[in-house]
Symmetry: C2
Subunit: 435 residues, 2 copies
């Protein structure tokens, strides 16, 4: 039997070119987090399954999680998301550290998915969370950070929008206006959550099939048509919803003050994880009609520490996956070319005798922080430049037999085509030329 | 029942300070790899168990691996090491790409260990491999890279040494000089591999208990006493071992040419993974008597691609774990202080009214790539500077009620103690001051 060379289903081999793309995306994430003074953390890949159950309920656990018993009969899972881990860590330290706690991570996560566009079994996710920030200001900061990240890739309000809602509105509409029982609320949540995947007719039909009164159905449909903060404001007034309970209104004003409101669109169908989010919920959404999908989802959650019997500490955060982000960047042609690596110098020789001085020169230059690709076998001069290009070298050096004899080396600047000869042991001058 | 706040056994929570230490170690790894033009790659966390069996035999699989059946009845494992993955990836592309292939990665790995000093269930490992390099030169480069990495942390030959051997020597001694059968060879390998963990007397006793002839025992003990390349050379000559078959001799000359031989010590007891390594084997070893342990292990392996039915391609590489590296750095006091994060500016206000201009200024400065920690609640002036210190801020700014009224802000350079007042909307000048 021959072994397969393919990666496990739903996972990826990151060959160097693909890895450079990932590194590029991660570096923007880290830079953006640093601009907002978020500190990097990480946790273990395995956690006890109980932790995920406590946060997400049974459903996610049963359907999507990679879980197994370890040899000590601990029932563990490969992390499907980072929030339970960060909550567990915050629960350990929140009493001693000053607030707000601002943390980020880029963990690898596993979900048992049927692989499809934008969804794989293994992905990486940029997680940012702020704990203990004053009301609205945490939400504002997290959304700002999301926008700044997207901008760091060259994206703007033509490329993406932030669909936003407030669970206080949804709760108010469902419980107070529609007069739903908890059970009915739950069904409506699920229906709303699915609405983007249904065509309009089917969706209307499903609304008609609910147990709502005719009047409630009308209000529900009226709610679902709201597509701006202005219309939301009118709706709130009309139905006497207590405005103070709706953080989204205040948040929107803050976003306007920072000239960021152009990015934000009220979307009544955004509800997200039911048992988890408690206030603002949002998604960064691709505006390209060919790729209408969420790149990122987040919101505020007040009660996560309760699963550890700790006093509640308000948290706001989002998760943004590498797979959907890359799709977004490709869709909008925002991904730079990463075909070739980069290196300062490629060092080659035409002669077996050149290997010794070549190794010695490479050794000296590396001590000067110059990166050197050494070709370890003699190479014909006409092949040097195509190799140099493939390796992304800024300079190419050739040790011909005459140069070896005279202790000299030719170095060519590959962008200016300028070429110069150096004594091979004159590291100072070579370094100066390469700088 | 209350959920545990502790991480899963044998794993670590990387709180920001701990994560900064890890980031520091990883950044040195990446920089060093880049100096040698090694390209970054990564593979999936899960691989089919067959892959590890093919490389390592049943033993590792049964005892140490985290394996389970996925929902599709694929028998998979969390990667315990990176070599099988990199081999699988190289097997996919080696026909098309120019040699040598120089790759590195820093994956998270799992082994089912009993947690103890230097050994955890989850760790990260710096993996470097070169494929298709000419004989000796691949080995030389990998060892150079190991030394350069250690030097990048400020370590030198007082702190660490490279214990080295050549499987060709071991094979020659066992098979030809001692006249061992394959079975006996295997037992001797195991005995030699364990020798550092046994006291001298016990070890001698175990040698005496082997089935070797008295003459063979003497030669074996003579071999085990060799502790320098010079003595090895004498031994080789005395026993007429064909010198050309021993790459270590040529490698040592190359190391001398590069003034690196001071790092390298011949060690007859280094044999490493039996079914895997085929030539040079080595370990980077801590010289501190309190922490005598391997920080890294590696060597050359000729046949890894055979498990994929591919023509063989010589590989050389090493793996260096984060746990033992950190122990090494601490032991030798080589770890910088990572207690505090770093940020350019901390922005505070003494007044609720200051929040709005504070948010606006932070927003503008972040667009100028200045990292800003905003304190989102009014803070008394005497608390600003201790907070600034805790957050590693270079500058601190305070928006008092008078400043708010006049549209001004005070910014203090925390290292020079110099303080200056700016118009709050004069981003250019503020940026200049902070630069």
């Amino acid at each position: 039997m021959t072994l397969s060379k393919k990666p496990y289903k739903g996972t990826r081999d990151f060959f160097p070119e693909e890895k450079r793309i990932r590194d590029y995306m991660f570096s923007k994430m880290k830079e953006t987090a640093q601009l907002f003074a978020y500190e990097s953390y990480d946790g273990p890949l395995l956690e006890e399954v109980e932790l995920y159950k406590a946060k997400s309920g049974e459903e996610l656990i049963n359907d999507q999680i990679y879980s197994f018993n370890d040899r000590g009969e601990r029932f563990v899972a490969i992390r499907p998301e980072m929030t339970p881990t960060v909550a567990r860590m915050v629960a350990q330290v929140h009493r001693e550290v000053s607030k707000p706690i601002r943390w980020f991570s880029i963990p690898n996560l596993y979900r048992y998915e049927r692989p499809q566009k934008g969804r794989l079994r293994e992905h990486w996710q940029f997680n940012v969370d702020v704990f203990g920030a004053p009301k609205i200001l945490g939400e504002l900061e997290i959304i700002q950070l999301g926008i700044k990240l997207m901008q760091s890739f060259g994206a703007n309000s033509e490329h993406f929008e932030i669909l936003i809602n407030d669970r206080a509105i949804v709760d108010n509409v469902f419980k107070d206006l529609l007069n739903c029982s908890e059970d009915e609320c739950y069904k409506l949540y699920k229906l709303v959550d699915r609405s983007k995947k249904l065509d309009k007719e089917k969706f209307e039909k499903q609304i008609d099939e609910t147990s709502l009164t005719e009047e409630a159905k009308e209000i529900f449909k009226e709610y679902l048509k709201l597509n701006s903060i202005d219309l939301l404001n009118t709706f709130i007034q009309k139905h006497s919803i207590p405005k103070d309970s709706i953080e989204l209104i205040g948040l929107y004003e803050r976003l306007q003050e920072l000239n960021l409101s152009e990015y934000v669109v009220f979307d009544p169908t955004i509800v997200r994880g039911l048992d988890y989010y408690t206030g603002i919920v949002f998604e960064i959404f691709d505006k390209n009609p060919e790729n209408r999908r969420a790149i990122c989802g987040g919101g505020s959650y007040a009660n996560i520490l309760k699963i550890f019997n700790e006093p509640s500490l308000p948290g706001v955060g989002f998760g943004l996956g590498d797979v959907t982000l890359k799709d977004f960047l490709i869709t909008h042609n925002l991904l730079p070319d990463f075909t070739t690596p980069t290196v300062d110098l490629i060092l080659t020789t035409q002669d077996e005798d050149g290997i010794k001085p070549l190794l010695s020169l490479a050794h000296s230059l590396r001590s000067e922080k110059i990166s050197v690709f050494t070709q370890l076998e003699p190479l014909k001069i006409k092949k040097v430049f195509s190799l140099a290009e493939k390796k992304g070298a800024k300079f190419a050096a050739i040790l011909g037999s005459q140069e070896i004899e005279n202790g000299l080396i030719q170095i060519k600047n590959l962008s200016t085509k300028d070429q110069k000869e150096f004594k091979i042991d004159n590291i100072e001058d070579i370094k100066g030329y390469l700088a």
